[in-house]
């Protein structure tokens, strides 16, 4: 199971590559709103979602997301990590 930090690192890398951020990637903070900042549009976001689902190995449920926090880098990765943890069988 991937940790939130691992997911964040891979997601950050995906955005950096996908949007060809190069040296601008330093501005990509946990609080960066991926949509409001104009960094990603709905098209990019679904691609990011597909990438992340592949990464964590499961579908990410967005039915009841908090739209205010979900579109930040940190919020998105926390949601993805939370889903992964909830799918892990208890010992």
């Amino acid at each position: 199971m991937m940790t939130r930090e691992e997911i964040t690192a891979r997601v950050r890398q995906w955005i950096t590559t996908h949007k060809q951020l190069g040296s601008d990637a330093g501005g990509l903070e946990d609080g960066t709103d991926l949509i409001a900042s104009g960094l990603l549009d709905s098209f990019d976001f679904v691609q990011l979602l597909a990438f992340t689902e592949q990464l964590v190995g499961s579908e990410i449920d967005l039915s009841d997301i908090d739209v205010d926090s979900f579109t930040t880098l940190g919020g998105f990765c926390a949601h993805a990590a939370g889903q992964t943890q909830s799918l892990t069988p208890s010992a």
């Binding site: 709905s42 098209f43 679904v46 967005l62 009841d64 908090d66 739209v67």
Partner: protein, 530 residues
């Protein structure tokens, strides 16, 4: 009983349903009484400052309480409204302002960031109403050519029984559609035009004060009309979808117990790809209305699973004939058989509207034959703003008819039952190495060959008005065997129509109005080539 105008319809509902909720927009919750009082106050100011020969008031805003109040205040003042989207390029907004001869502009908080550049580009001096600002001093100092009035200087109005100079033939709103020449075309819709539409829609969907409408399309898109005016005419509640929730509106639909949902079909595909169309996810929706682009069978199935208590209708119509003129009510038991190539029909004309499918000479074609769809009736507008040439091209007399018909440029055919099917655009025809090709035919072939619903084909690369080939975008996963799909296409299409490539993408890019953004798809191809 006064004649129908948008202002009269709203004010009548406001008198009847004073205490009922009228509007939810962001943190604001306004009852009909509160909304009517606020709009009336603003209208007193508009009437005091607007030139006597003005026809329209601009509203530079986006789905906020100020946006809706501004629209209502313009109408109550006896003017039509011109919506301007703060997210559109300044040059386009300034051009629209100039074409419309707007001299009074209501500016909401969400648009003030773009106001400086808009004013710098505006050709005419404007009176700017700033209802979200306590003071206009800073603005006035920076822009001496224009006049600014902040909220504290607004007058107080007295709610009257009906709007001032409520003329049914007067323009209710002016919308701009993209023009093939690059200059946007203004379509002025009268109170009479929109009255015919709103009256019918209220009856068609049995709208009452208990309904709760979502409001997602931008106000510059005529699908917003389908939400605002049946709602405000009936005492129902309008729930504005916040910008962030347009991205994923499922929680919004549940939180606001939406009963009447309107969107372009692409929104359904998008939500489906976000995995939010769970069984019975939206139990409160009782009518789901789709319009603006082809509705697919797969979209209907995905939506009816989530909105399991809802009836579904596919509407069709151009802005020039006021939102929609035909409808196909979906019947879960029988309708699949009516679909052709996985596309839902556009159905039958509304009872008060008329349609003809005609050949190049304007004569009606036989059932089964494809021709250009022409529309007539009280919803058909008078033409394009200050553009007699394009008006004469599109608004015509047909043989054996004395009335004015709007040539939609859309191709259609009807079955023996009279049910109409959309068959592409007259002007969407492309030439591939000299051969005439309809892209929709290729879409249908790829759809069948791939078993996937989302297919958009583009002529690519285009040189000198002709294209070398076709590239088809398929909405799916990497598991799709492109070579096999193309092999299957070769069995049904002539060589020159077989796509040179299939590009598999997880979802289609959408325009501000939620339609598939063909320009962005083309840019993807340009990016590859560059």
């Amino acid at each position: 009983m006064p004649e129908f105008t948008l202002a009269n319809a709203f004010l009548a509902a406001a008198r009847k349903y004073v205490e009922r909720p009228a509007l939810v927009a962001g943190r604001e919750r306004l009852s009909y009484g509160e909304l009517a009082q606020r709009a009336t106050d603003w209208s007193a100011t508009i009437r005091a400052v607007a030139p006597t020969d003005a026809m329209l008031v601009g509203v530079f805003a986006s789905r906020s309480a100020t946006a809706y109040t501004g629209i209502l205040s313009a109408l109550i003042s006896g003017f039509g409204y011109l919506p301007l989207n703060p997210h559109f390029p300044t040059e386009r907004n300034a051009r629209i302002l100039a074409l419309s001869d707007v001299r009074v502009l209501i500016v909401a908080a969400e648009a003030t960031q773009q106001l400086d550049s808009l004013l710098a580009s505006a050709l005419q001096p404007l009176t700017i109403l700033l209802p979200d600002h306590a003071s206009a001093a800073a603005w006035q100092t920076g822009h001496t050519r224009h006049r600014f009035i902040a909220a504290c200087d607004f007058r107080r109005g007295c709610i009257v029984a009906s709007g001032v100079d409520a003329d049914p033939a007067a323009t209710a709103y002016l919308l701009f559609t993209s023009g093939s020449t690059g200059e946007p075309k203004g379509v002025a819709v009268s109170n009479m035009n929109v009255g015919a539409y709103v009256t019918h829609v209220c009856e068609r969907y049995g709208i009452s004060e208990n309904d709760r409408f979502s409001q997602m399309p931008d106000l510059t898109f005529d699908l917003s009309i389908q939400e605002l005016w049946p709602c405000f005419s009936s005492g129902a509640c309008l729930c504005a979808v916040p910008k962030k929730a347009t991205f994923q509106p499922s929680a919004f639909i549940r939180e606001h117990a939406i009963t009447l949902w309107t969107s372009v079909p692409s929104v359904v595909s998008f939500m489906d790809q976000m995995h939010v169309l769970k069984p019975n996810a939206f139990p409160t929706i009782r009518w789901s209305v789709f319009c603006g682009e082809a509705l697919t069978l797969a979209q209907v199935h995905a939506w009816e699973r989530a909105a399991s208590n809802s009836r579904i209708e596919n509407l069709y119509g151009p802005t020039e004939a006021t939102v929609a003129s035909t409808g196909y009510p979906w019947n879960p038991e029988f309708s699949s058989a009516d679909c052709i190539n996985g596309i839902v029909p556009i159905g039958w004309s509304f009872p008060h509207q008329r349609d003809r499918i005609v050949d190049s000479e304007g004569f009606e074609v036989a059932p089964g034959q494809t021709g250009e769809l022409c529309l007539a009736g009280p919803q058909v507008t008078a033409g394009y703003l200050n553009d007699p040439i394009r008006t004469a091209e599109r608004f015509v007399r047909l043989p054996d008819s004395s009335e004015l018909w709007y040539r939609t440029g859309d191709l259609a055919f009807r079955t023996e039952t009279g049910c109409m099917h959309f068959a592409g655009r007259r002007d969407d025809q492309v030439k591939i190495r000299g051969y005439r090709v309809e892209l929709q035919e290729i879409d249908a072939a790829v759809r069948r060959a791939s078993g996937l619903d989302g297919v958009v084909s583009l002529a690519w690369p285009v040189r000198g008005g002709s294209a070398d080939g076709i590239v088809s975008f398929v909405c799916g996963t990497d598991e799709l065997d492109s070579l096999q799909v193309l092999e299957r296409c070769r069995t049904v299409l002539p060589d020159y129509m077989v796509p040179s490539r299939l590009l598999v993408i997880p979802t289609f890019p959408l325009t501000a109005n939620g339609k598939v953004d063909r320009r962005k798809l083309t840019q993807m191809l340009s990016g590859e080539a560059g």
